[in-house]
C-alpha cells in the first residue's frame, strides 16, 4: 500500500525534472500566443462595439437633443462630437484615444454645454466599486463552489446531495433581477434587516455601510454558485468512478484519505475552468445586479448610459467590461495549463 503511494510519488518526481526543463520554452510560447490572441480578440471586440453603437449615423445628436432638436442644432452637435467625419476616421480617433486613456466626450454633456465633457475621470470610481463587489463575491464564490460541489458529488443521490443540489438548480437558473428582488422582499420588507438599495453616493466607499453590500453579493453568489456546484459535482462523481479510486478503496485505504488525496485533487483541475467561467459571469451579472440595487458600479453606469443614449459612455463601459472578461479568460487558461501537466505538452 505505502509502496504503491511511494511508487507513484517517485514516478512523478522522476518525470518532473526533465519535463519542466524541456517544457519551459513551449509554455512561454503558449503564454505569448494566448496573450496575442487576447489582444486580437479585444481589437475585434472594439470594432464590434464601435460599429454596433454607430450603425445609425446622426442618431445620437437627434436622440440626445430630444424635444430641442432642430436641424441646425443637430448639425452643430454633430460637428462638436465629430460625427461629420467618416466612420473609419472616427473609429481610429476613438481607438487611439482609448489607448491613451482618453475615452471621449459625453454627448449629453456636450449638448447641455457643460464644462466637464471628458468621461475618462467619471469611469474610475464606478470601476473600483464594481471590482470591490465582484472581488468580495469571488472570494466567497471559489471556496463555496468547490466545497459544496465536492460534498454533493461525494454524497450523490443521498440527502446531503439533495440539500445542496436542489437549491443550486432553483437559484442557479433564476435571472439576477428575480433573485435580487425576492431577496429585497425577504430581507427588507419582511425582516427589516438590510437596506433595499446601495444608496451611497459615487464618491463614497462601498465599505461605508457594509450592510449595503450584503444583498448584491448574495444575489451574485446565488446565481453563480448554482451553475458552478452542478459542474463540480458532476466532475467529482466522474472522478470517484475512476479505476485509481476504486483501486485505492480495494487496497483498504481509509475513505477520507481516498477522497482527499485521490479524488479531490484530480477533480480540481477541470473545476478551474468552471470557476473561471463563473468569475467571467460576474462581470456580465453585475450589469443587472447593480441596477437592481442602485449600486454605483460600471454596470449601472453602462445601463444609465444606454438609457441616455450617451454613446461614448456606452462604448467606454463596454470595452472595460470586455477587457475584464477577456483577461479572466486568459488568466484561467494559464492556471489550467499550470495545474494539469498533461496540457503542458499539448500546447506546443
Amino acid at each position: 500500500m505505502t509502496t504503491m503511494i511511494g511508487g507513484r510519488q517517485v514516478d512523478l518526481d522522476a518525470s518532473a525534472a526533465p519535463v519542466t526543463r524541456s517544457i519551459r520554452h513551449p509554455f512561454a510560447r503558449f503564454v505569448g500566443r494566448r496573450l496575442a490572441t487576447g489582444v486580437v480578440t479585444l481589437w475585434v471586440v472594439s470594432v464590434l462595439i464601435f460599429v454596433a453603437t454607430n450603425v445609425l449615423p446622426g442618431n445620437v445628436a437627434e436622440v440626445v437633443l430630444g424635444h430641442n432638436a432642430t436641424p441646425a442644432r443637430i448639425q452643430l452637435l454633430d460637428v462638436k462630437l465629430g460625427y461629420n467625419h467618416p466612420m473609419i476616421q472616427r473609429y481610429f480617433t476613438w481607438l487611439v484615444g482609448i489607448l491613451h486613456g482618453d475615452f471621449g466626450k459625453s454627448a449629453v454633456a456636450v449638448a447641455l454645454d457643460q464644462a466637464q465633457t471628458s468621461i475618462s475621470s467619471t469611469l474610475v470610481s464606478p470601476l473600483l466599486n464594481s471590482l470591490i463587489l465582484a472581488g468580495i463575491t469571488a472570494l466567497l464564490l471559489v471556496p463555496l463552489t468547490l466545497l459544496l460541489g465536492a460534498l454533493a458529488g461525494i454524497y450523490a443521490r443521498r440527502p446531503p446531495d439533495y440539500a445542496i443540489s436542489t437549491p443550486a438548480l432553483v437559484f442557479g437558473g433564476l435571472p439576477e433581477f428575480v433573485t435580487g428582488t425576492l431577496l429585497i422582499f425577504i430581507f427588507f420588507s419582511v425582516l427589516h434587516w438590510l437596506p433595499p438599495t446601495s444608496g451611497f453616493s459615487p464618491g463614497q466607499s462601498p465599505f461605508t455601510d457594509v450592510g449595503e453590500l450584503v444583498l448584491p453579493v448574495l444575489t451574485l453568489l446565488g446565481v453563480a454558485l448554482g451553475a458552478g456546484i452542478r459542474q463540480v459535482r458532476a466532475g467529482m462523481i466522474e472522478t470517484l468512478q475512476r479505476g485509481y479510486v476504486q483501486f485505492a478503496r480495494l487496497n483498504g485505504i481509509p475513505e477520507r484519505r481516498v477522497l482527499v488525496r485521490y479524488a479531490l485533487r484530480n477533480a480540481l483541475a477541470p473545476s478551474v475552468q468552471i470557476i473561471a467561467q463563473n468569475l467571467q459571469y460576474l462581470f456580465g451579472g453585475i450589469i443587472v445586479v447593480e441596477s437592481v440595487f442602485d449600486y454605483p458600479g460600471i454596470g449601472l453606469y453602462l445601463v444609465n448610459a444606454v438609457l441616455a443614449r450617451d454613446t461614448a459612455k456606452v462604448e467606454a463601459a463596454a470595452i472595460i467590461i470586455a477587457a475584464l472578461y477577456t483577461f479572466i479568460n486568459i488568466a484561467a487558461d494559464f492556471v489550467v495549463v499550470l495545474l494539469v501537466p498533461k496540457l503542458r505538452t499539448a500546447v506546443t
Binding site: 464590434l48 437558473g173 429585497i184 462581470f283 453602462l302
Partner: protein, 281 residues
C-alpha cells in the same frame, strides 16, 4: 431485445416518470396559461389609474395598486405574453441562424468555415447582455431589435454544436453516396445530414429557451425593452420597486412568475438531458 430499443423504451417511459419533467410540465402549463390567456380573464383595464399609488390589496383589487395607481392584477394578467412571445420568437431565430451557419461552416471545407467560426468566437467573448445593450444603443429599442439581438448573442452555441456534428456526419457513407448520386448540396444537407445531427441539437433546446427568456426579461427589467405603459412582468418589477414597502405584491407577483417559468423550463430540459444521457446523472 436490442440495446437501441431498450434505450428508446427507457427514454420514453423515463420522461413521463421523471418527477422533474412532471413538476416542470405542470408549472410550465400554469405560467403559459396565465401569460397567454390571463388577459381574457381580467375584468379591469391595465392602463387606467383607479386609486392611490401603491395601495395595499383590498376589495376589487386583489393584488393592490401599482406605482401609478393602476390595478396590479390586471397588469399582471396582461403582462406575461410579451416576454413569452419574444423569447419563443428569439429561440426559433437562434436555431434557424445556428443551424444554417453551423451547416455552412461544417460542410463547406473552405475559407468560409474559419471565417464563420472566428466571428462566432468573438460573439462568445462578450457577456450576452452587453452585446444586446450595444445593439439597443445603436438601433434603438424595439421588439424586432430585442429578438434579433438575443438571437445574435445565443446562436453561436448552436452553430458550434451543428458544425462539429456536421463535420463528423459528412464523411459517412450515406452522405458520400448522396453526393455520388449527384444530389444537390441543399438536398444532401436537408435529407442526409440534418436528420442525423438532430439529437445533439435538440438536447439543449430548453436551456437556450430559458436563456432567451432571461435576456429578454432582463432588458425589459432595465427599462430598455418594452416601453411603459405596456404591462410586462420584467418591467413591472423595476417600476414598482419604489412602492415595495406599501404593496410588495406588485413586485413579488411578476418576479415569481418569471422565476417559475425559468424553473419549469430548466426542470423539463434537465429531465430530457438526464434521459438522453441514459438516466445516470
Amino acid at each position: 431485445m436490442s440495446t437501441v430499443t431498450l434505450v428508446r423504451r427507457q427514454a420514453r417511459s423515463g420522461l413521463l416518470h421523471d418527477w422533474g419533467v412532471r413538476v416542470g410540465g405542470l408549472l410550465l402549463a400554469f405560467v403559459v396559461f396565465v401569460a397567454l390567456f390571463g388577459g381574457l380573464l381580467s375584468s379591469q383595464s391595465p392602463y387606467v389609474t383607479v386609486g392611490i399609488p401603491g395601495a395595499a390589496p383590498g376589495a376589487g383589487h386583489l393584488l393592490g395598486l401599482d406605482f401609478e395607481g393602476r390595478d396590479v392584477l390586471a397588469r399582471f394578467l396582461h403582462g406575461g405574453s410579451s416576454t413569452l412571445v419574444l423569447a419563443v420568437t428569439a429561440t426559433v431565430l437562434i436555431y434557424a441562424l445556428g443551424i444554417s451557419v453551423g451547416l455552412l461552416a461544417g460542410y463547406s471545407r473552405s475559407i468560409i468555415d474559419p471565417l464563420l467560426m472566428r466571428t462566432v468566437d468573438v460573439l462568445l467573448s462578450l457577456p450576452s447582455l452587453l452585446v444586446i445593450l450595444l445593439f439597443i444603443t445603436g438601433l434603438g429599442s424595439s421588439r424586432p431589435v430585442m429578438v434579433a439581438a438575443a438571437a445574435v448573442v445565443l446562436f453561436p452555441g448552436v452553430a458550434r454544436i451543428v458544425r462539429s456534428a456536421t463535420l463528423e456526419v459528412s464523411t459517412r457513407g450515406y452522405v458520400e453516396a448522396a453526393v455520388a448520386r449527384g444530389e444537390s448540396t441543399v438536398a444532401t444537407l436537408r435529407r442526409e445530414v440534418l436528420p442525423n445531427i438532430l439529437p445533439p441539437i435538440v438536447a439543449d433546446m430548453g436551456l437556450r429557451f430559458s436563456w432567451s427568456i432571461i435576456l429578454i426579461a432582463s432588458v425589459n427589467f432595465l427599462g430598455l425593452g418594452i416601453r411603459p405603459p405596456t404591462p410586462d412582468w420584467g418591467l413591472m418589477i423595476s417600476e414598482n420597486l419604489v412602492i415595495l414597502p406599501s404593496n410588495p405584491l406588485a413586485v413579488v407577483a411578476p418576479a415569481a412568475m418569471i422565476g417559475l417559468l425559468i424553473i419549469a423550463v430548466n426542470l423539463i430540459s434537465d429531465g430530457i438531458m438526464r434521459v438522453l444521457s441514459g438516466g445516470d446523472r
